[in-house]
Symmetry: C2
Subunit: 253 residues, 2 copies
């Protein structure tokens, strides 16, 4: 019988070629698998809640892994794992779950934040996209509200072989001002590859006055990736929350 | 007649060998002088409000410079200067002042923040000192209050030839909790070289239970740098405010 564990972590994506293991490039997944395998003295594979792209950050991320023999998944394990991991990946929590709990398929929602700094800021070069020209944030919010009217977001996806549908349920989509920052908060049951960055890039076209709200809707309706604006840069994007049914979040112990 | 200007800026000190120009090392001062000289087409020397050490940051910094010919010190100058400067130095404002205004000698107070992160945080490796073991913050605050009883801070200074006295007036000194962060806020009329980091390092000894509050006072009274604790690391320190008399802060125009 295998023993399954959930692990909560955060990472600064700057130095990584995204979450997923790739040949000839360092990924977050690979870095964590190496640390876990060394610490637990058995080869460990991990399954992440999602696949962030190169340069994208996560202030909240969940993965699962299975072990042949159970371990005490408490403070000690977290502390040791952090000492094996580099400074830009931090583990907050590890706990046992039932064998049916799946980091990716059991998740019921994901929330992303996209940060734009409207002033030059020496402290957010890796964590916010700098855009200092005027933006009509009201219009950007008006367009963002239109996302609730649609389910098929093919126009905001990258061609992707392993998904069966391009349907997503949007639960939240809004721009907020926080001092010299703009934050786009978006929550959905699932996101297609590249979807948040494509939405942000297209909403920025609305903010610049290059697209009307009606044109934004028309882009979604066309269900064609070529129709949308350019993707916003990766370094402004943070995965900030993932929800699971209560029964899974709680330890089985 | 020379025309004097104040410039407000912020910088991430990670890549710099401090504020002051040094042989064989890149300083913030030198980087700004080069940008100003190129932009204004005359050799420009700048005088900073203080001299931050290697790796120390400033979210608020003031310098002055003199020009042979007056310039329009408005939004355009700031915008162009920012485009000449690297990402880790940002200019917010430039304005003309009278010839008596001096960035360093006219300043009536400086405020520093020292950030400690009590958890591993992938996003503050350059901007907070990580210390995850328990600290008695109440005791650290009790000791910090003792700073108000003294004026001679030789024990917290580095040997320094160009200052006449080691006396400083402390206006504020307290530790605050902000989530997983501890912030030491300290304000004084002036600070000696290395003083904030030496105070923080010694207060950390109090927090770890290695020094009592009475021993902290005895260290100050000894007026001997060898008596204090090790300096806290540079990357947790931010210069955050500098005050000037109203007549100087306001533009002479």
């Amino acid at each position: 019988m295998l023993h399954r564990y959930f692990l909560q972590l955060s990472y600064n994506g700057t130095r990584y070629h995204g979450w997923q293991v790739q040949p000839n490039a360092v990924s977050v997944q690979e870095t964590i698998e190496k640390a876990l395998s060394t610490l637990l003295r058995e080869p460990v594979s991990v399954v992440g809640a999602g696949r962030t792209d190169t340069g994208v950050h996560a202030s909240y991320f969940i993965l699962h892994f299975d072990l042949q023999k159970p371990v005490a998944a408490g403070y000690d394990l977290v502390y040791k794992l952090n000492s094996y991991l580099p400074n830009d990946i931090a583990v907050q929590k590890c706990w046992p779950v039932s064998g049916e709990a799946h980091a990716r398929f059991s998740a019921t929602s994901r929330t992303y934040h996209y940060f734009i700094t409207t002033e030059k800021d020496p402290f957010s070069n890796e964590t916010a996209y700098r855009y200092t020209l005027p933006l009509d944030v009201d219009k950007m919010n008006e367009a963002a509200q239109m996302l609730f009217n649609y389910e098929d977001f093919t126009s905001f996806s990258r061609l992707h072989t392993d998904v069966k549908t391009n349907n997503c349920k949007i639960y939240r989509a809004e721009w907020k001002r926080e001092g010299a920052r703009l934050v786009f908060v978006v929550k959905a049951d699932r996101f297609l590859r590249n979807m948040v960055r494509a939405i942000v890039g297209t909403l920025l076209e609305v903010g610049k006055g290059k697209l009307s709200v009606a044109e934004f809707c028309a882009i979604i309706e066309r269900q064609d990736r070529g129709a949308a604006g350019a993707s916003a840069p990766a370094h402004g994007l943070f995965l900030v929350d993932i929800e699971y049914p209560e029964a899974i979040i709680h330890s089985k112990m």
